[in-house]
């Protein structure tokens, strides 16, 4: 069974979103997503400073088995990327919530509140 922490928000496309105190958000892929993909071997991160619309392809994670797009859960500008995750993709398998992928400044912070909560995402993951 995959792990869905209750302090995070989620997108149905299997990203998690953490609201930070400074108004930025930290984003990664869920435990369910890493488990479905299997051993990750490559992570392609976005460029810092780039702006993305919501639901736009923003990063790529590839396992031995397949490539999967990561989508921007909300509209915003990339402020930081986690190079450590790109250097060691297997860290996403070990702990998908510690191995974040990038941070964004949302266009509208309220967009984050409109994302799925843990219970709603669990239902999405169970149906997948």
């Amino acid at each position: 069974m995959s792990n869905v922490p209750s302090n995070l928000k989620y997108a149905a496309s299997h990203e998690w979103v953490l609201k930070n105190a400074d108004g930025s958000v930290t984003i990664g892929i869920t435990d369910h997503a890493q488990e479905a993909l299997g051993d990750l071997v490559f992570v392609e991160l976005p460029e810092v400073g780039a702006h993305y619309a919501a639901d736009k392809e923003i990063a790529v994670v590839e396992s031995v088995k397949a490539a999967a797009d990561v989508y921007a859960p909300i509209a915003g500008t990339v402020t930081e990327v986690n190079q450590a995750a790109a250097d060691a993709p297997e860290s996403v398998n070990s702990d998908a919530y510690a191995a974040w992928l990038f941070k964004m400044t949302p266009d509208n912070l309220a967009d984050v509140d409109a994302l799925l909560d843990a219970a709603a995402y669990q239902a999405v993951a169970d149906a997948a």
Partner: protein
């Protein structure tokens, strides 16, 4: 409704991640595909390949039938137990399937065909036997189908310690199988034990009554053989440079363009289905390997840009042995091993090096 092999509940008991593999509910891994891959290269792993279909041929015309049916030449099979890898072609020279033929006696052969192609293969064989008026009875032995009680399961045990593990569990098989060179089979009681495989490692593929498959699987597991899913099977065969039907070749691809020239016996007078088309078309492309020099993962259908024109990757993944991405590709004639080419990955052109189409075998890199 997905089809299930006789080992389905055994996979589920091991918490395998199950996927729809061509209509079959099969394990893709039991946790980590990469660990399973290394287990086979370094020690010993086992795969349920009971979705593949054994087909028995019995009758006076086995040899003349197979001589016309497949592109390789069964005249090479002179010693009982010897196996032969071949493509079965259509009239246009495209590959209907790739298969292994085991020679038992002049009136008895066994063929093993791919899971997803078994039905069309059987229909083709039956039609050709009737058309050529051959005295040959064709019986499929795959579990879950009509086999007249002769349903078989297949477990592939692969890796440097595979033989020792099999003898530990089936001591009665040791005498008949310890002298088996690569690509032979021996029949021991109800077991058909072949020194064939799809990993580039030593080992056996064991066919046995379906009702006994789970017992053997559990005994092998208790002996320390790692259960391995189809994910590891794919990266192992890719590293070993072995073609996968449906990806590296299909009915629209000539075996000469898919790296299978070594299996096509063109030179003598023997006629076989597809020969005239192959002779007329000749080789149009070459089948080579690629190693990605930049970071990323090569995948099937990515375009390869070379000085001689555009080619295409047919299979690609990350190589756990090389720790780099590798691929098999059909490239224009004139491209040479060692050339640097570009691969279009999501619109970016990444650098790759052309290699022989074999990357790792017998526990180590060969590139």
């Amino acid at each position: 409704m997905l089809k299930k092999t006789v080992l389905n509940s055994a996979h589920r008991a091991l918490n395998a991640r199950m996927v729809d593999f061509g209509g079959w509910d099969m394990p893709v891994n039991y946790g980590s595909q990469i660990e399973e891959h290394h287990a086979v290269r370094m020690d010993c792993g086992m795969f349920d390949v009971s979705h593949m279909c054994p087909v028995d041929l019995v009758g006076a015309d086995c040899r003349p039938f197979l001589s016309r049916l497949v592109a390789n030449d069964v005249a090479k099979l002179t010693v009982s137990g010897k196996a032969l890898y071949s493509a079965m072609l259509n009239e246009a020279g495209g590959v209907i399937d790739d298969l292994i033929i085991y020679f038992l006696t002049d009136t008895r052969f066994r063929i093993v065909v791919n899971a997803g192609t078994a039905e069309k293969d059987l229909a083709w064989m039956l039609a050709k036997a009737a058309e050529w008026k051959m005295d040959v009875t064709i019986t499929q032995r795959r579990d879950g189908e009509s086999t007249n009680g002769g349903a078989l399961g297949i477990i592939a045990v692969q890796g440097p310690n595979a033989r020792a593990k099999v003898w530990q569990v089936l001591p009665q098989a040791k005498a008949a199988t310890e002298g088996l060179k690569a690509f032979f089979a021996a029949e021991v009681d109800q077991y058909f034990i072949a020194s064939t495989g799809y990993t580039g490692e030593d080992g056996y593929e064991i066919m046995l009554p379906a009702s006994e498959a789970e017992s053997l699987w559990n005994k092998l597991k208790d002996a320390g053989v790692a259960p391995c899913g189809l994910g590891a099977r794919d990266t192992l065969r890719l590293e070993a440079g072995m073609n996968l039907y449906g990806q590296d070749m299909d009915e629209t691809v000539s075996p000469l363009d898919a790296g299978l020239s070594w299996t096509v016996a063109m030179k003598d007078d023997r006629d076989f289905v597809g020969k005239s088309a192959l002779t007329a078309a000749g080789q149009q492309q070459q089948f080579l390997g690629l190693i990605l020099l930049d970071k990323g993962v090569l995948r099937g259908h990515q375009k390869v840009i070379t000085a001689q024109g555009v080619g295409e990757i047919t299979s690609g993944s990350f190589s756990p042995t090389l720790q780099q991405s590798i691929a098999l590709a059909r490239l224009p004639l004139g491209v040479a091993i060692g050339d640097e080419v570009q691969v279009d990955i999501r619109g970016k052109l990444l650098k790759a090096k052309v290699t022989k189409p074999v990357f790792a075998r017998n526990g180590k890199a060969v590139i």
